[in-house]
């Protein structure tokens, strides 16, 4: 610390302190606590946001049960499981990144952030494969939506072989469009959170290469970790609700 800044600090009654300690905080601990608290408040608003979508999904599933069961048979459990594994692994690499920052390992941090970045892109890639299949089958609500797989399940042999679904009456089959609306909104909002996260990861990789976050000031990486794990948790609930719970009905 240069003489002039030391003098400036002495003037308003400070001891020397790390350059990243803002002056309205007593000490580093208080600053980190305040940032962590604020991050949790933000995440709770996110919980409420996704909670509304989950609630809507449960209510509509209860109302249009046969349509939701058959529509969810269209999702591929293999891709869903693989994506869950990819996302959990990315949470693990992110947690390791936070540890590297805390223990001041610059190259370790950069490596972990890059791995998290790649796994995040991988997740979106797999999601794209799934979305493309829905587009090809005209299962996107509002865009030439096709009821054929539901009013005549045998016309969709790949799915029919697995589930042997009975044809739905037209008025119930129409409600599969509600399932796919919720499917696209929920996974789409989740994917949007991933895209934002990946963009911030890119920024952090750039900064971490220059030595940021490994100088004792880990708040940014730590709170980004909270965000990334939250996005993981949303998927942990989306996966069973959308892919798994209607297999036998």
């Amino acid at each position: 610390m240069s003489d002039s800044t030391a003098l400036a600090h002495a003037e308003h009654g400070h001891e020397e302190h790390p350059s990243y300690l803002r002056h309205h905080f007593e000490n580093v601990e208080q600053q980190a606590d305040a940032a962590g608290f604020a991050m949790w408040l933000f995440l709770l608003t996110e919980v409420m946001f996704f909670g509304g979508l989950f609630t809507a999904y449960l209510i509509y599933r209860n109302w249009y049960y046969p349509a939701f069961v058959q529509a969810s048979h269209q999702l591929d459990i293999f891709w869903g499981t693989l994506n869950t594994a990819v996302l959990i692994t990315s949470s693990f690499t992110m947690a390791m990144g936070v540890w590297c920052a805390e223990t001041r390992r610059r190259s370790g941090l950069v490596f972990c952030l890059i791995l998290t970045f790649i796994l995040g892109i991988g997740f979106l890639g797999i999601k794209t494969i799934e979305y493309k299949e829905k587009i090809d089958k005209h299962h996107v609500p509002g865009f030439h939506y096709s009821l054929q797989s539901f009013t005549n399940p045998q016309s969709d042999p790949e799915i029919y072989e697995k589930y042997h679904d009975k044809p739905l009456a037209l008025d119930m089959a129409r409600h599969t469009e509600v399932y796919f609306s919720l499917y696209f909104v929920m996974t789409g909002m989740h994917a949007l959170h991933m895209i934002i996260g990946i963009a911030i990861l890119g920024f952090m990789i750039f900064r971490a290469r220059g030595g940021a976050y490994t100088n004792g000031h880990v708040t940014f990486v730590e709170n980004f970790g909270l965000y990334w794990h939250f996005v993981d948790i949303v998927w942990i609930f989306l996966f069973p609700l959308l892919y798994l719970i209607s297999r036998h009905q």
Partner: protein, 105 residues
């Protein structure tokens, strides 16, 4: 400066990589378990099992990856209050919708 550094290290609990490896492995195993469970014929219990496993996974993520187990009481209270409010809102909404038609048929 050294005092500050010591304070900072003392106040900040660093979770060891061993715990992250164990937690990450448990989460992957539970993912396998939930997929396996979905292939069983348990009737309504399939949904219950899938959600129960998801809740366990989410709790593990919150406690260890998100460090809540090692956080201040303020953080623990914040997380708990948030989840309680969330469950109260969702619970009351679902209770309303699922019972609205009772006695009307």
């Amino acid at each position: 400066m050294t005092d500050q550094k010591e304070m900072e290290e003392a106040s900040h609990h660093v979770v060891s990589p061993v715990i992250y490896i164990i937690v990450g492995s448990i989460l992957l195993v539970l993912t396998g378990v939930t997929v396996w469970a979905s292939y069983q014929e348990w009737g309504n219990f399939n949904a219950v099992a899938a959600l129960a496993i998801a809740v366990v996974k989410a709790m593990i993520v919150v406690l260890f990856f998100m460090h809540v187990k090692y956080s201040s009481k303020l953080t623990k209270l914040t997380v708990f209050c948030g989840l309680f409010t969330f469950l109260a809102l969702v619970g009351m909404t679902l209770a309303d919708y699922f019972t609205r038609a009772w006695g009307r048929w």
